[in-house]
Amino acid sequence: MVAKINEDANDAAGVHPLKFALWLIIISIIMMFAAFTSAYIVRRAEGNWLEFDLPSILALNSAIIVLSSITMQLAYFSAKKNNLGTLKMMLLLTVGLGTAFLIGQWYAWGDLVQNNIYFGGSGANPAGSFIYVLTGVHGFHIITGLIFLLIVLASSLRYKIHSKKMLRIQLCTIYWHFLGGLWLYLYFFLLLNH
């Protein structure tokens, strides 16, 4: 599983190829959201923009995702120290918090619908549609992150993650922190620009 391909190569960057590839994936996701948020700003500047309050549950969701980042980091540390029991528990906790975040986002959508902010249809204003797109695309990436977490959890149950075999959990930690950071960016962006 672990790429040893650069064993005899000049490992110039000093970074594992898969880790490097993950950073590139992260950059491409950043570019995608950069496109969405700059489109948001450009569109908002044009006028005919519906102003409304963000669902208050988003603040709670943000707290949940920050918490999940902490548990993820704790899982990483316990893997490093070979505390395999704590590792499993922390990973499970992270999966749970990640799922709670998704459910929370779903409730936020429900809130929006109750306030007559729709994604599409005749009453929809781009202001509302953008919120659905930003949270929706982010939610999709959270789902990919959860799948990754479950893979890591499964391999931790088979004792395949420990201080000598950190690559997988390291990649997962980076990705999960990124997704958390991405949400915080989106949340503050929406707070500042609505």
Partner: protein, 608 residues
């Protein structure tokens, strides 16, 4: 993004064991779902060639309509079926053909076919790696591209026809199925296909960058890399940064089309009836599209830059002139490509001040481009030029790049663009500078690396015929287009005979169409040469062009893992051609300075 699945065949290292093993691979593992970068490169090449013929054929069809607008095309009914009625090509199908020609050529041939082939083939071979960083991701990239291809191809055969809103798919035309037949199912398929295509390109690009950064062999520093690798690396970086933006734009367009949002739509009346969409702005789409769209033209041309630099140096038997300036200009072009997108939008009513900023940035691109042209010419200057077919195409590339690039300076002016926007002048410009030129880069690469790909040589005589016919046809097609463009002749018009002012161009249009047909026929010479040489070509030697780069140190047909023994070590840059004092006129990168004492420069003595 289940990165854990990106496993790498760990056997790749143990070259001897691996040799045993790959005889046991069955047909599917070896040729279909292969993770070997060389097989994937060939898969991309074959797909690219297939797409190029489809795209070229479409252009011949619409050139026939433009060249002989009065003719009846009943003989096309067997191919086009309902798209020809009473011998006349359906106007909406004309638009669909133009759209598909652009989409196919830009994305499927000159992005996937060009980068896909040469990045896959050359990156591991020229940097001294066994394979790509992730063979699995690489395979996935091809098969997602294949799926995108099938979807795009199938859209040509549905009843309402393929997408017809131009390759730029501007809303509202592309967003409203009521607007034009092609904006129905055809457009949906276009968007699905392009979304998959983007995923494929991202997987590929991430792999290319990782491989170049991480898997270079001992001694292969960034300043000893062949220029092909620099160009392909920057191409991949541009792709990773710009394709996600197109993905965002496509996603928003999908929502507008199918979910009733109004990102790009507002206040539209169709057949006297107001649509529910309100609050969107179509200009937003253009910004998002061209933020990809402009780097995209460099994604198309940068690999050609690299290939041409390599071939010109090899066949002039001279070091490339200004190696670092070449890298610098590649970097300069890559950076600038992200800050010029709005020069495609001068006539959208943008602020004239903003227009002049974009004009200024656009014109700066002339500087690194001119550096490149100067360096190519200086490399050719007083070289012992060998006119192999690849060299002919490389020199042809430089010629096309100059003549196409000059008109870029004109089009980059926001004032001149008011007259020239969306005329055949633009068509002529970009076909010369990125269309034909990138094709020439691709031909250069195919003719040059064919011996390494298939272990046989292509026929040089047929190659020369192919070159001259193509080269002359390209100029005969696109030079006259400048004139009709300056006269204001708009692109994408199905019929222009109704306009008094354009009637005088009938003969010129017939001439262009004839030249296009000759140019297209010449490609069958290439196809024959290509297929025949794969099967029956003269056997190649390990290093037929006496080239310095690492791929020529592999066996005639490199196996999985590329080098049978240990990986080569690199001691010098790739352009030691005709070095004074050396017994041969080339010194491969693997030759240490201690073995070339007679030709070492004073500063190289320390390295002996």
């Amino acid at each position: 993004m289940a990165s854990t699945d990106l496993s790498i065949n760990t056997d790749v290292h143990h070259a001897h064991e691996e040799h045993e093993e790959h005889h046991h691979q069955n047909f599917f593992e070896k040729y279909i779902f292969s993770q070997d970068h060389k097989v994937i490169a060939k898969q991309f090449l074959f797909m690219g060639i297939m797409w190029a013929f489809i795209g070229g054929f479409l252009s011949i069809l619409f050139r026939m309509q433009l060249g002989w607008p009065e003719a009846t095309y009943t003989f096309l009914e067997p191919i086009l079926g309902g798209w020809v009625t009473n011998g006349k090509i359906d106007p909406e199908f004309y638009l669909a053909m133009v759209t598909m020609h652009g989409t196919i050529m830009i994305f499927f041939v000159l992005t996937a076919g060009l980068s896909g082939t040469f990045a896959n083939f050359l990156i591991p071979l020229q940097i001294g790696a066994r394979d790509m960083a992730s063979g699995f991701m690489n395979m996935l990239s091809f098969w997602i591209f294949f799926l995108a291809s099938i979807i795009m191809l199938s859209s040509l055969f549905i009843e309402t026809g393929p997408a017809a809103g131009g390759w730029t798919v501007y809303p509202p035309l592309s967003a409203l199925p009521q607007a034009i037949k092609g904006s129905g199912t055809g457009m949906t398929l276009w968007l699905i296909s392009m979304a998959l295509f983007i995923v494929s390109q991202l997987l590929a690009g991430i792999n290319y960058i990782t491989t170049v950064i991480n898997l270079r062999t001992r001694g292969m520093s960034m300043t000893k890399l062949p220029l092909t690798i620099w160009a392909l690396l920057l191409t991949a970086i541009l792709g990773v940064l710009s394709f996600p933006v197109l993905f965002s734009a496509a996603l928003l367009l999908i929502f507008d089309r199918s979910f009733g949002t109004s990102f790009f739509l507002s206040d539209i009346y169709i057949a006297g009836e107001a649509l529910a969409h309100s609050g969107g702005t179509p200009i937003l789409f253009q910004h998002l599209f061209w933020f990809l769209g402009h780097p995209e033209v460099y994604i198309v041309i940068l690999p050609a830059f690299g290939i041409v630099s390599e071939v010109i140096a090899t066949n002039s038997r001279k070091p490339i002139f200004g190696y670092r300036a070449m890298i610098g200009s590649l970097l300069g072009i890559s950076v600038l490509s992200f800050v010029v997108w709005a020069h495609h939008m001068f006539v959208t009513g943008m602020n004239p001040f903003l227009g002049s900023v974009f004009m200024f940035l656009t014109l700066i691109i002339a500087v690194p481009s001119a550096v490149k042209v100067f360096n190519w010419l200086a490399t050719l200057w007083r070289g012992n030029i060998r006119f192999t077919t690849a060299m002919l195409f490389a020199v042809g590339f430089v010629s096309l790049f100059i003549s196409g690039g000059l008109t870029g300076i004109i089009l980059g002016n926001s004032a001149l663009d008011i007259q020239l926007h969306d005329t055949y002048f633009v068509v002529a410009h970009f076909h010369l500078v990125m269309g034909a030129a990138a094709f020439f880069g691709m031909f250069t690469g195919v003719y040059h690396w064919f011996p390494k790909m298939f272990g046989r040589m292509m026929d040089e005589k047929l190659g020369a015929v192919h070159f001259w016919m193509t080269f002359i046809a390209v100029y005969l097609v696109f030079m006259p287009m400048h004139y009709i463009g300056i006269a204001g002749f708009p692109r994408r018009y199905y019929a222009w005979t109704g306009f008094e002012s354009f009637n005088t161009f009938t003969d010129l249009n017939t001439f262009i169409s004839l030249a296009a047909i000759i140019g297209f026929s010449a490609q069958f010479i290439f196809l024959f040469n290509f297929i025949y040489s794969i099967l029956r070509g003269r056997r190649a030697t390990e290093n037929p062009w006496h080239s310095n780069t690492l791929e020529w140190t592999t066996p005639v047909l490199p196996g999985h893992g590329n080098w049978p023994g240990p990986l080569p070590t690199v001691y010098r840059w790739p352009y030691d051609y005709s070095k004074p004092g050396a017994p041969e006129d080339y010194i491969p990168q693997t030759v240490p300075f201690s073995q070339t004492q007679s030709s070492n420069m004073p500063q190289e003595r320390d390295l002996e």
